[in-house]
Every structure is written in C-alpha cells, then in structure tokens.
Symmetry: C2
Subunit: 500 residues, 2 copies
C-alpha cells in the first residue's frame, strides 16, 4: 500500500456486539423487582441461593444444547493460557451439576438451591432473540421423589402468579422423557439393555418433537423421516425412521386426552411392554396425584405428551410453562406468547463427574421473556421517580447549591446538583427529561432575601423550553417561594402533594 | 495406538476454572445486601441504573488495563463467527463509554448512571485473587465540572459508611492525572503540543508509580530507570528516565504535606511553568474546596499525589479509597487491608467513538474486596434463616405432608417437605444442617389423634443423630404436641419464641 494511503486508525464502532443489548433505568428496575418476587417464592420453599461463576470449563458444561450446527455447539468458548477450553455458561443447570459434584461433601442432601443470572448462547441473532439473557432457577439435587418434580411444576405456577400473570393466562405442561424413551423403545430405537445404541437418532427425534409448535405435525413427520427443506431452501436431515415408527412417535405427541386418567391410559397403550415407558407413566401418575392433592387443577398444570424440551440432559419428568394470551408480533399479527419457563429431571448430570447417579430436578424461569410478556400486556411500569434537581444560577456559588442537594439527601429525598452547562431553560429541560418532580432555584435576589424558588415540575408538566427569563418563571402558578431554611420541609410537602 | 489401549472417555473434572469460585447461601445474600446499600446511595444522588451486556467487542473496550504482558492484554477474548473479536468486559467504565456514544441522542446530558455486575480479568490467578469479581459504579457523563469529581469522592466516603465501615477506618485519596502530566512535562516526557509523543514511556511511569504501595520508593525508582528484577528473577524493563527526571516524578509521589494548601503549593513548585500541570492543580483546589464546604474533612478525603490508579484511560482527577485498619494475611501477618474503590475522570473515552470530547468522571466500588474486608472484621454475617422442615414418617402419605408445608408457606413461613431418603434420625440431621428452626413430625399415631409433633430445633440445638425411635423424641423437652388444625399458629409461636 502506498504510504500516503495509510489512514489514521479508524474509530471503534459504538455498538453492542450482534445479538446483545443494553437495559436502561426502568428496565433494570423491572427485572430486579421480578427477580425479587421469584426468589421470594423459591426461598419460601426452602431453597438457598448459590452463585457460580459465569465461566466454566467446556468439559464441565458438556454438550447438551440443541444447537448442534452452531459454532462450539452453541456456546461462546475460548482457550485459556494453559490450553483448557473455557466457555460462558449456557444455563444454570450444567454449572449446578459441577458445583454439586465439587462441593457435595459440604452440602446438605437433598441440596435445594436457587440461582439468578445471565446465561449466554451462541445462537444466530434475530429480532427479539438475544445471546445473553437472564434465568432464575430452582433445583433439588439428591432427591428421586416425584414430590420433587411436582414441587417444580407447582412452584412454576406460583411464580407466574407472583410476578403478575393471572390464573388462566398460563398453563404448565408436564411430560416425561422416560415415557418418550418407552415410546422410542416401541418404535425400535431404544433398548434399556443398550441405552447408548441409536442415541444419535433419538437426538434427532427429540429435537424434531421439540419443534412441534413451530413446524406443525407435518414438519415433524418430515424430520422423523427423510428430512425437511425449510422456506430458505436449507435441508435438515431427518431421523430416517420407518413410517410405522414415525407414526408411534407422532401418536405420542398427540396423546393428550380430556383428563389425566385418559391421557395416562393412552400412554400405556403406546409404550406397550416397555418397562422404561411404564415406569415413566407411573411417575407421571404420582406427580399428577400430588399436584391434584395440593389443588393445582388441570387449568393450571396439565399432563401433555407434546412437551419434550430441547435440552439433551433430561432423563425423567419435564415441564414447560406457556403464556396462553395472544400478543401482536412485530408485523402486527396476533400470536400466542409461548414458553417462559421450563425444566425437568436430569438424573445423570452429576454422574458425568462422579460416576455415581445423583437424582436431580429443577425449573428455570426465562426472566427476560417473562418481562417482555408483562410489557406486552402493559403491566410492567416500574418507574424510578426522578430526583429533585438543584439548579445552578451562579457558577461561583456551587458550594451553596451543593449544600442544598446534601440537605435534601440527608432527609432521604433523591436529589442532585445540576452538573451540566447551559442557561436556566436548559437546566429545566434536563429536569423534565429526568422526570424530576421539583426544581430548586436560587438567584442573587433570592439569596439576599433568604429564600429559594421551588418549581413543581410534576404539576407544571409542560415544556419548560420557552421560559427564558427570571421574571417569567415567577409568574408560573406551579412555582412557590419559600424560606431557604425551610427547604427540606417545603420540598417534602410539594412531593407529597402528588409529584411524579 | 493399539485398539485395546483405547480408554473410555475420561470424566470431566468437577472444578471451577482456575481463578474462579462459587458463592454459597449467606455469601450471596451478604453481597446482595451490600449492593442494595451502595445503589441506594447512588440513587439518592440522582443516578439511574444501566445494565449493559457482559460481552463487548474488543475494539469497543479498548486496551487500558495495566496487564500489558498478559494474553489479550488482560481480557478474556474470542472470535465471533463473523470474525469480530469479542471479550468479557474488564470493568463497567469502558462499556459505559460505548453505551453513551451509541445512545447519546436518547440520553439526558449529563447522563448519571449506576451499574452493578461482574467483570472479568485475565489475570494470573493467585490466593485471594479472582478472575471474576463484582463492581458497583456510578458515573456522570457530560460534565466537566469539578463538582462532579468532588461528588464521586464524597459518594465513595458515604458508600463506605453505608456498608458499615466506620469513619476513621477508611481514607479517600484524591489526585490528578493532569498534575502528573504536568510533572512529566517538567521531566521532559510530556508536551501539550504533541501529547502522543513519549506515550509508551509515560505508560511505564504510570504503572511504576501505581506500584508504589507494593514495591516501595526504591522499586519505583528502579522502574523509572533501567528496570527492576523481582524476587523470582524476572526482569521488568524500566522507563529509562534520566536520573533528574526520575527524581521529579518521585518528588511528585512524595508531595503530600500536612494540609491541602501546603500540598497544592508543593505541587505548584513541581510542575513549574506547565500549563497542563497548573490547570490540574486548579481543579484539585476547586474539588478540595467543594468537599471542605460539604464538611468532608481531611480525615475522610485527602489530597495525596501518591495515588495515580493503574488504568490507562484517566485524564484528570483520580481517587482511591483505602481501608486503614489492619487484618491478618494468609500467613497470619498483620497488613493494611488496602484499596476497595477507585475512580477518576476519563474525558477521552467517549471521543474514541465519536471524535467529540465528552467529559466524564466516575467511581467503582470493589464489592468483593469490601465484603472480604467486612468479613475480616467479623461484620458480615447475613444469615438466611433455615426453613421449617416437614418430615416424612410414612412415604404413602406424601400429599398430607405436602399440604402441611403448603399451609405454612401460605402463612409466609419458609417451609419445605423433606425430599430425601432415610429414617427420622437422618431427616433431623438434615434439618440441623439446614439450620431449620422447627421440624414437623406426624406418624400414624399422631394422625389418628389429629395432632402433630413440633420439634424446636433452635432450642434443642444438640446433635439429633442419636435419636432413633419415636418414643425417644417424645421425651425431648424441646418438643411439643399440638393439634394438626393449629399447625400454623403453633409453628409461628415457636418461631417467635426465639428460633434460629
């Protein structure tokens, strides 16, 4: 390159990486408030907090995401200087299995923990699909009891109501991977004697069934057979099941009947003599019985064999919570909001580390999806009241203005000194932008007389931009002159009169 | 490799990656409580929350860490599928500059935000040094006023007192990078006319001065000259300053005098005719005046030229908070606890993106260090009271036991059904391990008579392991029989009587 073409280093782009985003003010507070409500339910149920690191070794996380075609199978990974592969956690369950295996001698059994935090998926970014999102999980490690599974489904329903989803606007569906294995045994692709055989085909079947919502019955049928070409022309290879076997799997997804007993009976037909399938059905029956005894009717929690969950680590009961109301999508078309939580039993995840089976079950709330749902229903609005703004008329008197802000704060009133540049109009515009309830103004005249002006911005919520002279603001009805010595009391009174 | 040597895939290791750790129960709650207290101070001062993503592009983060010799200069980085280099944020300031540049048209000016979250540094792990830790920052973007810098120092002092560090146990030191530049101008390695010249040498000087605490005056002198060989034999190349220039820099770090006026006078001597240096001193004087007017005496916030901060992006005032009490290190030797917070003015960080200078200043609280400090002083202890444990005498009556736990929870009492295996002794041992205040016991006999046993575990805080038969627990004084219908009231009464 000729030397005169050498450019100055170009500026970095001020952009979040693709698929990431920022959360401002009220969005952050709304999430905090939601997490408080969710964790309160978990705590009430006896779960203790755990925070593991965001970074795990790739080998500890394992490969359980359905994103088999993505770079690093869907995780963000890099090599540490000692050559160990590290990755950002893709969920809170795989790290829990690592934590339990590592610290099991110092933990109670069962170990009941909740966890809150971001997880990262190396997915293809798209509208409304982010590569960092919050989960809030509860898990019971060390219990094989169906009561542990029932508790997860029940807590999911309780959590949804606690965050403001009314009964009737959600449904928790439960099912069992063991029953699915029983069905696959009937279809000839699972054998308890050699559980590793056909594992690859079963993975394809699982991911196909998990897409039932999106692809419909015929799309799933194609993926169970030769494969499916999507609208973009991409071809996904199928499980290549014989037609009869595919029919058994499809019948399983269709097995929901008018009540729990009828669904269980239909499942028994489908799994036939499979011991795995029968054991799974017995578990589902026990779970359904426990939920019924606690008064969770089928309008809240229902047995539904079409739910399988995409993650590879589940071994028993699975559950998924869906919001049933319609929202409008980006193109203004009504659609069901869809899944906001899910979980299940993963009895083999700790065994990966220790060689000993440790039964475990849990649920994960998709916090950001749930926030989006509440926003779509116009039910989020957690606003942080703006601060009282102490304006600056005379730059040489900063210490005096600062003293006012300090006095207000010592009285517990959110207050700040205006630190920008510009005239009073600009300061009042700033106060408006901050949704400030009150502005405090003190010029030389006020100073001499020992008073300050308090501008009630909540009351006078009109544009302040065209008010340019001192005399003009005095004529505003929403402004009062008070003794400087009574600053705190008068501001407090103005806030109490309504304010923002 | 001969085929019979092929091994089964080895188990993954159940270990956090090197330099990472897990936080359990009370540790998580203690951090939450501390973050609540810190953010309350920030909110009171008018700062709004912001949560940016943990992942940024490497170019957006820039290279400002002092770890020039570490892989990727101290960050965890990897390449995205579109070849963009991504990294975990190493602090919350660089991402703020990106956020402000990206969203500035929709943000108020000044933009005052606080942020909470983990940051990651690709440092060499060592005892007590972790590669993921929490920061809690407040920043004002868009204000050049010394009042903004003064506010950061004042808030730092307020935050430390709010989290439980008494006055006298901390000191906030302030200084100015502009004054340091003035000193370097006097030493011949800075010129306002060509600020990029000697940048590399100034970086070495900066990092050397930042190590004053650790290396002492002679260590810094070596790094200002030829270089320094450490105890391990590693040689760090120095700035190769002429002796006279090194003396000026060392005199700067020594410039603190008995009071602020004397320190300022000494600094004026050192910077001589440097306009940059004089402007920096004027700013320090203004900041010190504003702090004095607010009543922050020099026992809380002091002007101290030995503080420079290691990060490369500071351009003006800097501050650092240190805890002044002694703790015992891992080897039992007394040492000062050291720095727990710091910050400063970084007027050029937004300009990297936009080309326009945007003045900005902020402070970052090292949350995990501060938690460690409180723990070292025996002042952390945020305990989550254990749950009431409903034990399981008869596995066939799970729904009845579950109903008890549900009743307790509906009354707001933290309660869980025992979901593990084992006899009553094991269940009581579990209850003990969970620090449960009460265990609820109902056998067939109780069931017939419509009563339950409540075991006051807080009262009888002795080992439950040797209690094996039903009759034995009946004889315990810390156990009462109550009507099943009065379960909630009686548990509540027992909890009120003391409990854990």
């Amino acid at each position: 390159m000729p030397k005169d073409k050498v450019q100055k280093p170009r500026r970095p782009r001020a952009e979040t990486p693709k698929g990431f985003r920022d959360y401002f003010g009220a969005e952050v507070l709304a999430r905090e408030a939601m997490l408080d409500r969710i964790t309160e339910v978990y705590r009430l149920h006896g779960f203790d907090p755990l925070e593991s690191s965001a970074v795990e070794t790739v080998e500890a996380l394992g490969k359980f995401l359905p994103d088999v075609d993505r770079p690093n199978e869907g995780v963000f990974a890099w090599q540490d200087e000692d050559e160990t592969w590290l990755a950002l956690r893709y969920d809170l369950t795989a790290p829990l299995a690592r934590v339990y295996a590592q610290h099991r001698l110092n933990l109670p059994t069962p170990y009941r923990r909740y966890a809150v935090g971001p997880v990262w998926r190396n997915e293809k970014p798209g509208p409304g699909r982010f590569r960092q999102f919050y989960q809030c999980d509860a898990d019971t490690v060390g219990s094989a009891s169906p009561a542990a599974d029932a508790e997860m489904a029940a807590m999911t329903a309780d959590v949804l109501e606690a965050v403001g989803i009314p009964r009737g606007d959600y449904i928790v569906r439960i099912n069992s991977r063991r029953v699915l294995n029983g069905v696959m045994e009937a279809a000839g692709i699972y054998s308890e004697a050699d559980p590793d055989a056909h594992a690859h085909v079963r993975g394809i079947v699982l991911r196909a069934v998990d897409k039932l919502d999106r692809l419909g019955r015929e799309g799933v049928r194609a993926l169970l057979g030769e494969g499916r070409r999507d609208e973009s022309g991409d071809f996904t290879r199928g499980a290549e099941l014989p037609e009869e076997a595919a029919e058994i799997v499809l019948a399983f997804t269709d097995a929901r009947r008018e009540d729990t007993a009828a669904t269980l009976a239909r499942l028994r037909e489908l799994v036939g003599p499979s011991a795995t399938g029968r054991a799974g059905i017995d578990e589902l029956e026990a779970i359904a019985g426990l939920l019924d005894a606690q008064g969770y009717g089928t309008e809240r929690i229902v047995l539904d064999p079409s739910v399988v969950r995409g993650l590879g680590y589940y071994t028993g009961a699975v559950c998924e919570a869906e919001l049933t109301f319609e929202i409008l999508d980006e193109k203004g078309r009504p659609r069901q909001f869809g899944s906001v939580a899910g979980g299940g039993r993963y009895d083999d995840l700790v065994r990966r580390f220790t060689g000993e089976t440790v039964p475990a079950t849990g649920v994960s709330i998709g916090v950001d999806r749930l926030l989006a749902a509440l926003a779509a229903k116009g039910r989020s609005a957690t606003a942080l009241a703006g601060p009282v703004i102490v304006t600056v008329m005379d730059r040489h008197r900063l210490p005096d203005y600062q003293a006012m802000a300090t006095e207000l704060r010592r009285a517990g009133i959110r207050a700040e000194l205006f630190l920008g540049g510009g005239n009073m109009a600009r300061q009042l515009k700033y106060a408006d932008r901050r949704a400030a309830p009150v502005a405090v103004i003190e010029g030389g005249n006020e100073r001499e007389r020992g008073v300050v002006q308090l501008k009630d911005l909540a009351l006078g919520a009109r544009l302040a931009a065209d008010i340019d002279t001192h005399d003009e603001w005095k004529s505003q009805p929403a402004q009062v002159e008070v003794p400087r010595a009574r600053l705190v009391e008068e501001v407090r009174a103005m806030l109490a009169r309504g304010g923002r």
